[in-house]
Protein backbone atom coordinates (compact mmCIF):
# COMPACT_ATOMS: atom_id res chain seq x y z
CA UNK A 1 0.00 0.00 0.00
CA UNK A 2 1.40 3.34 -0.91
CA UNK A 3 0.28 6.88 -0.43
CA UNK A 4 1.18 9.71 -2.74
CA UNK A 5 2.81 12.47 -0.79
CA UNK A 6 3.05 15.93 -2.33
CA UNK A 7 6.52 17.32 -2.76
CA UNK A 8 7.74 19.11 0.34
CA UNK A 9 6.64 22.75 0.47
CA UNK A 10 4.75 22.24 -2.81
CA UNK A 11 2.13 24.71 -1.59
CA UNK A 12 4.46 26.51 0.81
CA UNK A 13 1.74 26.85 3.43
CA UNK A 14 -1.23 24.65 4.20
CA UNK A 15 -4.24 26.70 2.98
CA UNK A 16 -6.00 25.93 6.27
CA UNK A 17 -3.53 28.27 7.97
CA UNK A 18 -3.94 31.16 5.54
CA UNK A 19 -5.29 34.09 7.48
CA UNK A 20 -8.19 36.03 6.02
CA UNK A 21 -7.98 39.74 5.26
CA UNK A 22 -6.93 41.87 8.17
CA UNK A 23 -9.85 42.97 10.35
CA UNK A 24 -10.37 46.71 10.38
CA UNK A 25 -11.31 48.71 13.44
CA UNK A 26 -10.81 47.60 16.99
CA UNK A 27 -13.91 45.53 17.63
CA UNK A 28 -12.02 42.72 19.38
CA UNK A 29 -10.21 45.23 21.59
CA UNK A 30 -13.48 46.95 22.54
CA UNK A 31 -15.08 43.56 23.23
CA UNK A 32 -12.13 42.66 25.46
CA UNK A 33 -12.40 45.97 27.30
CA UNK A 34 -16.19 45.64 27.64
CA UNK A 35 -15.80 42.20 29.26
CA UNK A 36 -13.60 43.65 32.00
CA UNK A 37 -15.62 46.81 32.65
CA UNK A 38 -19.01 45.08 32.55
CA UNK A 39 -17.64 42.37 34.82
CA UNK A 40 -16.74 44.93 37.48
CA UNK A 41 -20.10 46.70 37.09
CA UNK A 42 -21.97 43.40 37.32
CA UNK A 43 -20.32 42.51 40.63
CA UNK A 44 -21.78 45.70 42.15
CA UNK A 45 -25.16 45.32 40.42
CA UNK A 46 -25.64 41.63 41.23
CA UNK A 47 -24.59 41.90 44.86
CA UNK A 48 -26.79 45.00 45.28
CA UNK A 49 -29.65 43.00 43.77
CA UNK A 50 -29.05 39.98 46.01
CA UNK A 51 -28.70 42.03 49.19
CA UNK A 52 -31.81 44.12 48.55
CA UNK A 53 -33.91 41.10 47.62
CA UNK A 54 -32.70 38.40 49.98
CA UNK A 55 -31.19 40.03 53.05
CA UNK A 56 -32.58 43.51 53.75
CA UNK A 57 -35.84 43.61 55.77
CA UNK A 58 -37.78 40.34 55.73
CA UNK A 59 -35.30 38.93 53.30
CA UNK A 60 -36.41 36.17 51.00
CA UNK A 61 -39.82 35.88 52.71
CA UNK A 62 -40.79 39.33 51.41
CA UNK A 63 -40.47 38.39 47.77
CA UNK A 64 -43.81 38.33 45.99
CA UNK A 65 -45.57 39.89 43.04
CA UNK A 66 -46.16 42.97 45.18
CA UNK A 67 -42.48 43.21 46.14
CA UNK A 68 -41.43 43.28 42.50
CA UNK A 69 -44.20 45.76 41.69
CA UNK A 70 -43.01 48.02 44.49
CA UNK A 71 -39.43 47.86 43.31
CA UNK A 72 -40.26 48.71 39.73
CA UNK A 73 -42.34 51.69 40.81
CA UNK A 74 -38.99 53.27 41.72
CA UNK A 75 -37.04 54.58 38.66
CA UNK A 76 -33.73 53.82 40.42
CA UNK A 77 -34.55 50.11 40.62
CA UNK A 78 -35.89 50.22 37.08
CA UNK A 79 -32.55 51.58 35.93
CA UNK A 80 -30.66 49.10 38.16
CA UNK A 81 -32.48 46.10 36.71
CA UNK A 82 -32.20 47.45 33.17
CA UNK A 83 -28.44 47.91 33.54
CA UNK A 84 -28.15 44.43 35.04
CA UNK A 85 -30.15 42.88 32.21
CA UNK A 86 -28.21 44.58 29.43
CA UNK A 87 -24.76 44.14 30.91
CA UNK A 88 -25.33 40.52 31.93
CA UNK A 89 -26.79 39.62 28.53
CA UNK A 90 -24.07 41.36 26.52
CA UNK A 91 -21.32 40.05 28.85
CA UNK A 92 -22.67 36.51 28.56
CA UNK A 93 -23.25 36.75 24.82
CA UNK A 94 -19.72 37.99 24.23
CA UNK A 95 -18.39 35.16 26.39
CA UNK A 96 -20.31 32.55 24.40
CA UNK A 97 -19.25 34.27 21.16
CA UNK A 98 -15.58 33.82 22.08
CA UNK A 99 -16.23 30.20 23.07
CA UNK A 100 -17.83 29.58 19.67
CA UNK A 101 -14.86 31.25 17.97
CA UNK A 102 -12.46 29.09 19.97
CA UNK A 103 -14.17 25.73 19.55
CA UNK A 104 -15.99 25.77 16.21
CA UNK A 105 -13.61 24.72 13.47
CA UNK A 106 -15.62 25.57 10.37
CA UNK A 107 -16.79 29.00 9.26
CA UNK A 108 -20.30 27.74 8.55
CA UNK A 109 -20.64 26.18 12.04
CA UNK A 110 -19.45 29.42 13.57
CA UNK A 111 -21.89 31.50 11.54
CA UNK A 112 -24.83 29.27 12.48
CA UNK A 113 -24.06 29.10 16.19
CA UNK A 114 -23.43 32.83 16.42
CA UNK A 115 -26.61 33.56 14.46
CA UNK A 116 -28.69 31.54 16.93
CA UNK A 117 -26.86 33.21 19.83
CA UNK A 118 -27.54 36.73 18.58
CA UNK A 119 -31.22 36.05 17.87
CA UNK A 120 -31.65 34.60 21.38
CA UNK A 121 -29.85 37.58 22.92
CA UNK A 122 -31.90 40.17 21.06
CA UNK A 123 -35.13 38.37 21.96
CA UNK A 124 -34.31 38.26 25.69
CA UNK A 125 -32.95 41.82 25.89
CA UNK A 126 -35.94 43.28 24.04
CA UNK A 127 -38.45 41.24 26.07
CA UNK A 128 -36.75 42.12 29.37
CA UNK A 129 -36.57 45.82 28.54
CA UNK A 130 -40.21 45.81 27.52
CA UNK A 131 -41.24 44.18 30.80
CA UNK A 132 -39.26 46.64 32.93
CA UNK A 133 -40.81 49.69 31.24
CA UNK A 134 -44.34 48.47 30.56
CA UNK A 135 -44.86 46.50 33.75
CA UNK A 136 -48.37 47.13 35.06
CA UNK A 137 -48.89 45.89 38.62
CA UNK A 138 -52.66 46.53 38.46
CA UNK A 139 -53.82 43.21 37.10
CA UNK A 140 -57.50 42.46 37.50
CA UNK A 141 -58.47 42.08 41.15
CA UNK A 142 -55.24 43.56 42.41
CA UNK A 143 -55.17 44.69 46.04
CA UNK A 144 -51.86 46.56 45.74
CA UNK A 145 -51.80 50.10 47.19
CA UNK A 146 -50.55 51.59 43.88
CA UNK A 147 -53.77 50.64 42.09
Amino acid sequence: MSVTIPAPRSQRIDPKYKRGPKSRGSFEMLAWLFMRLSGVALIVLIFGHLISNLIVGDGINAISFGFVAGKWADPIWQFWDLAMLWLAMLHGTNGVRTIINDYAEKHSTRAWLKGILYVATIFIVVLGTLVIFTFDPCVAGSTLPQC
Binding site: I5, R12, I13, E28, L33
Partner: protein
Protein backbone atom coordinates in the same frame (compact mmCIF):
# COMPACT_ATOMS: atom_id res chain seq x y z
CA UNK B 1 56.58 -2.07 11.47
CA UNK B 2 54.20 -4.70 12.60
CA UNK B 3 55.36 -4.76 16.20
CA UNK B 4 52.80 -3.81 18.80
CA UNK B 5 53.26 -0.29 20.07
CA UNK B 6 53.58 -0.11 23.84
CA UNK B 7 50.69 1.44 25.68
CA UNK B 8 51.25 5.17 26.15
CA UNK B 9 52.45 5.91 29.66
CA UNK B 10 49.73 8.48 30.26
CA UNK B 11 47.00 5.90 30.13
CA UNK B 12 45.59 5.27 33.54
CA UNK B 13 44.31 1.85 34.40
CA UNK B 14 40.75 2.13 35.63
CA UNK B 15 39.69 -0.47 38.12
CA UNK B 16 36.44 -2.09 37.15
CA UNK B 17 33.49 -0.43 38.82
CA UNK B 18 35.31 2.79 39.61
CA UNK B 19 34.61 5.89 37.56
CA UNK B 20 33.36 5.81 34.00
CA UNK B 21 29.84 5.16 32.89
CA UNK B 22 29.41 2.06 35.00
CA UNK B 23 28.76 4.09 38.11
CA UNK B 24 25.76 5.91 36.73
CA UNK B 25 22.62 4.03 37.69
CA UNK B 26 20.68 2.47 34.86
CA UNK B 27 16.99 1.83 34.63
CA UNK B 28 14.53 0.39 32.18
CA UNK B 29 11.98 2.56 30.50
CA UNK B 30 9.21 2.14 28.00
CA UNK B 31 9.25 4.86 25.37
CA UNK B 32 5.84 5.16 23.74
CA UNK B 33 6.30 7.08 20.49
CA UNK B 34 3.49 8.35 18.29
CA UNK B 35 4.52 7.08 14.88
CA UNK B 36 3.26 8.41 11.59
CA UNK B 37 4.74 6.94 8.43
CA UNK B 38 2.79 8.40 5.51
CA UNK B 39 4.59 6.08 3.06
CA UNK B 40 3.13 2.95 4.62
CA UNK B 41 0.14 3.82 6.80
CA UNK B 42 -2.51 6.49 6.64
CA UNK B 43 -3.08 6.61 10.39
CA UNK B 44 -0.73 7.50 13.22
CA UNK B 45 -0.20 4.82 15.87
CA UNK B 46 1.66 4.28 19.14
CA UNK B 47 4.78 2.15 19.23
CA UNK B 48 6.55 1.01 22.40
CA UNK B 49 10.30 0.64 22.77
CA UNK B 50 11.84 -1.01 25.83
CA UNK B 51 15.17 0.63 26.58
CA UNK B 52 17.84 0.52 29.26
CA UNK B 53 18.93 4.08 29.95
CA UNK B 54 21.35 5.86 32.26
CA UNK B 55 20.49 8.34 34.98
CA UNK B 56 22.13 11.14 33.00
CA UNK B 57 20.12 10.48 29.85
CA UNK B 58 17.52 12.75 28.37
CA UNK B 59 14.46 11.93 26.27
CA UNK B 60 16.58 12.85 23.24
CA UNK B 61 19.12 10.15 24.18
CA UNK B 62 16.31 7.63 24.34
CA UNK B 63 15.14 8.70 20.87
CA UNK B 64 18.72 8.41 19.61
CA UNK B 65 18.95 4.94 21.07
CA UNK B 66 15.79 3.92 19.25
CA UNK B 67 16.93 5.42 15.97
CA UNK B 68 20.49 4.11 16.14
CA UNK B 69 19.94 0.67 17.70
CA UNK B 70 16.30 -0.33 17.21
CA UNK B 71 14.42 1.34 14.37
CA UNK B 72 16.20 3.62 11.94
CA UNK B 73 12.94 4.79 10.42
CA UNK B 74 12.07 6.88 13.49
CA UNK B 75 12.19 10.53 12.41
CA UNK B 76 12.62 13.58 14.57
CA UNK B 77 14.40 16.93 14.42
CA UNK B 78 17.35 17.92 16.51
CA UNK B 79 20.38 20.03 15.80
CA UNK B 80 22.43 21.25 18.73
CA UNK B 81 20.92 18.86 21.28
CA UNK B 82 21.63 21.37 24.04
CA UNK B 83 18.53 23.54 24.30
CA UNK B 84 19.68 26.35 22.04
CA UNK B 85 18.54 25.59 18.49
CA UNK B 86 14.92 24.84 19.34
CA UNK B 87 14.56 21.95 16.89
CA UNK B 88 13.34 19.17 19.16
CA UNK B 89 10.21 20.55 20.78
CA UNK B 90 7.78 17.68 21.28
CA UNK B 91 4.92 16.58 23.51
CA UNK B 92 6.46 14.53 26.30
CA UNK B 93 3.93 12.97 28.67
CA UNK B 94 1.37 15.42 27.29
CA UNK B 95 3.46 18.53 27.88
CA UNK B 96 5.46 20.49 25.32
CA UNK B 97 9.14 20.15 26.16
CA UNK B 98 12.50 20.11 24.44
CA UNK B 99 13.61 16.47 24.28
CA UNK B 100 17.19 17.62 24.88
CA UNK B 101 16.32 19.39 28.14
CA UNK B 102 14.09 16.74 29.68
CA UNK B 103 15.95 14.23 31.85
CA UNK B 104 14.43 10.77 31.97
CA UNK B 105 15.01 10.57 35.72
CA UNK B 106 12.67 13.54 36.21
CA UNK B 107 9.83 11.63 34.56
CA UNK B 108 7.85 8.75 36.02
CA UNK B 109 9.86 5.82 34.63
CA UNK B 110 7.47 3.24 36.06
CA UNK B 111 4.96 4.17 33.39
CA UNK B 112 5.52 4.44 29.64
CA UNK B 113 6.91 7.82 28.61
CA UNK B 114 4.79 9.15 25.77
CA UNK B 115 6.44 11.19 23.04
CA UNK B 116 4.46 12.73 20.19
CA UNK B 117 4.76 15.58 17.74
CA UNK B 118 3.68 19.07 18.81
CA UNK B 119 0.01 19.71 18.16
CA UNK B 120 -1.72 22.15 15.85
CA UNK B 121 0.75 22.07 12.96
CA UNK B 122 0.53 19.73 9.94
CA UNK B 123 2.18 16.40 10.76
CA UNK B 124 4.77 15.31 8.19
CA UNK B 125 6.34 12.22 9.71
CA UNK B 126 6.67 10.76 13.22
CA UNK B 127 7.74 13.71 15.36
CA UNK B 128 8.24 16.15 12.51
CA UNK B 129 5.66 18.83 11.76
CA UNK B 130 5.49 21.48 9.05
CA UNK B 131 6.66 24.66 10.80
CA UNK B 132 5.72 26.92 7.89
CA UNK B 133 2.47 28.31 9.41
CA UNK B 134 4.41 29.06 12.59
CA UNK B 135 7.12 30.97 10.75
CA UNK B 136 4.53 32.71 8.56
CA UNK B 137 3.04 34.35 11.68
CA UNK B 138 6.54 35.15 12.89
CA UNK B 139 7.39 36.91 9.63
CA UNK B 140 4.14 38.88 9.69
CA UNK B 141 5.09 40.76 12.85
CA UNK B 142 8.33 41.97 11.19
CA UNK B 143 10.91 40.55 13.59
CA UNK B 144 13.71 42.93 12.65
CA UNK B 145 14.85 46.41 13.63
CA UNK B 146 13.06 49.21 11.79
CA UNK B 147 14.40 52.67 12.52
CA UNK B 148 13.64 56.12 11.18
CA UNK B 149 16.05 58.98 10.63
CA UNK B 150 19.77 58.90 10.07
CA UNK B 151 21.89 55.87 10.63
CA UNK B 152 24.10 56.53 13.64
CA UNK B 153 27.83 56.50 12.96
CA UNK B 154 28.47 54.47 16.10
CA UNK B 155 26.35 51.84 17.80
CA UNK B 156 22.77 52.70 18.77
CA UNK B 157 22.90 53.75 22.36
CA UNK B 158 20.51 52.09 24.82
CA UNK B 159 20.44 52.48 28.58
CA UNK B 160 20.54 49.45 30.83
CA UNK B 161 16.96 50.14 31.92
CA UNK B 162 15.72 50.37 28.32
CA UNK B 163 17.44 47.09 27.50
CA UNK B 164 15.97 45.47 30.59
CA UNK B 165 12.44 46.35 29.43
CA UNK B 166 12.34 43.60 26.78
CA UNK B 167 15.09 41.32 28.08
CA UNK B 168 12.75 38.42 28.78
CA UNK B 169 11.42 38.18 25.23
CA UNK B 170 14.90 38.20 23.65
CA UNK B 171 15.38 34.64 24.92
CA UNK B 172 13.02 33.03 22.39
CA UNK B 173 14.55 30.21 20.32
CA UNK B 174 11.50 29.71 18.05
CA UNK B 175 10.97 26.10 19.07
CA UNK B 176 7.15 26.47 18.75
CA UNK B 177 6.54 24.81 22.13
CA UNK B 178 4.36 27.77 23.19
CA UNK B 179 2.31 28.21 20.02
CA UNK B 180 1.66 24.48 19.71
CA UNK B 181 0.54 24.29 23.37
CA UNK B 182 -2.08 27.01 22.87
CA UNK B 183 -5.66 25.64 22.73
CA UNK B 184 -6.77 28.66 20.69
CA UNK B 185 -4.12 27.87 18.07
CA UNK B 186 -5.18 24.19 18.01
CA UNK B 187 -8.69 25.06 16.83
CA UNK B 188 -7.96 26.47 13.38
CA UNK B 189 -4.37 27.73 13.34
CA UNK B 190 -5.51 31.26 12.54
CA UNK B 191 -4.33 32.84 15.79
CA UNK B 192 -0.93 34.55 15.50
CA UNK B 193 0.20 32.50 18.48
CA UNK B 194 2.34 33.25 21.52
CA UNK B 195 5.71 33.01 19.75
CA UNK B 196 4.86 35.68 17.18
CA UNK B 197 3.56 37.98 19.92
CA UNK B 198 6.66 37.38 22.08
CA UNK B 199 8.89 38.32 19.16
CA UNK B 200 6.76 41.37 18.40
CA UNK B 201 7.07 42.33 22.08
CA UNK B 202 10.84 42.12 21.74
CA UNK B 203 10.76 44.99 19.18
CA UNK B 204 7.70 46.92 20.37
CA UNK B 205 9.42 47.63 23.69
CA UNK B 206 12.88 48.17 22.20
CA UNK B 207 13.72 51.88 22.52
CA UNK B 208 15.84 51.72 19.35
CA UNK B 209 12.96 50.53 17.19
CA UNK B 210 10.47 52.90 15.53
CA UNK B 211 7.88 50.48 14.12
CA UNK B 212 6.16 49.55 17.38
CA UNK B 213 2.92 51.15 16.19
CA UNK B 214 2.90 49.07 13.02
CA UNK B 215 3.36 45.88 14.98
CA UNK B 216 0.63 46.84 17.46
CA UNK B 217 -1.69 47.48 14.52
CA UNK B 218 -0.89 44.03 13.10
CA UNK B 219 -1.60 42.37 16.45
CA UNK B 220 -4.84 44.35 16.94
CA UNK B 221 -6.32 41.94 14.39
CA UNK B 222 -9.22 39.62 15.25
CA UNK B 223 -6.65 36.80 15.18
CA UNK B 224 -4.16 38.86 17.20
CA UNK B 225 -3.59 39.34 20.92
CA UNK B 226 -7.30 39.50 21.75
CA UNK B 227 -7.67 35.77 21.07
CA UNK B 228 -5.41 35.05 24.04
CA UNK B 229 -7.44 33.48 26.87
CA UNK B 230 -4.57 33.61 29.39
CA UNK B 231 -4.54 29.86 29.95
CA UNK B 232 -0.78 30.08 30.66
CA UNK B 233 -0.07 26.93 28.61
CA UNK B 234 2.58 28.89 26.72
CA UNK B 235 4.34 30.11 29.86
CA UNK B 236 4.34 26.56 31.20
CA UNK B 237 5.71 25.15 27.96
CA UNK B 238 8.48 27.67 27.28
CA UNK B 239 11.86 25.92 27.64
CA UNK B 240 13.56 29.28 28.13
CA UNK B 241 11.30 30.32 31.00
CA UNK B 242 9.92 33.35 29.16
CA UNK B 243 6.86 34.83 30.87
CA UNK B 244 4.91 34.49 27.63
CA UNK B 245 1.42 35.24 28.95
CA UNK B 246 2.76 38.33 30.70
CA UNK B 247 4.36 39.52 27.45
CA UNK B 248 1.04 39.06 25.63
CA UNK B 249 -0.74 41.03 28.36
CA UNK B 250 1.81 43.84 27.98
CA UNK B 251 1.15 43.98 24.25
CA UNK B 252 -2.61 44.11 24.96
CA UNK B 253 -2.03 47.02 27.32
CA UNK B 254 0.14 48.80 24.76
CA UNK B 255 -2.59 48.51 22.12
CA UNK B 256 -5.19 49.77 24.61
CA UNK B 257 -3.17 52.75 25.78
CA UNK B 258 -2.33 53.62 22.19
CA UNK B 259 -5.98 53.86 21.09
CA UNK B 260 -7.86 54.88 24.24
Amino acid sequence: MSTELPEPPSKIELKAGVGGGGEIPTFNITLRVRRYLPETTAEAYWEDFKLTMYGTDRVLDALHKVKWDHDGSLSFRRSCAHGICGSDAMRINGRNRLACKTLLKDLDTSKPITVEAIKGLPLEKDLIVDMEPFFQSYREIMPFLISKGHEPTKERYQSVEDRERFDDTTKCILCAACTSSCPVFWTDGQYFGPAAIVNAHRFIFDSRDDAGDMRLEILNDKEGVWRCRTTFNCTEACPRGIQVTKAIAEVKQAILSRTV
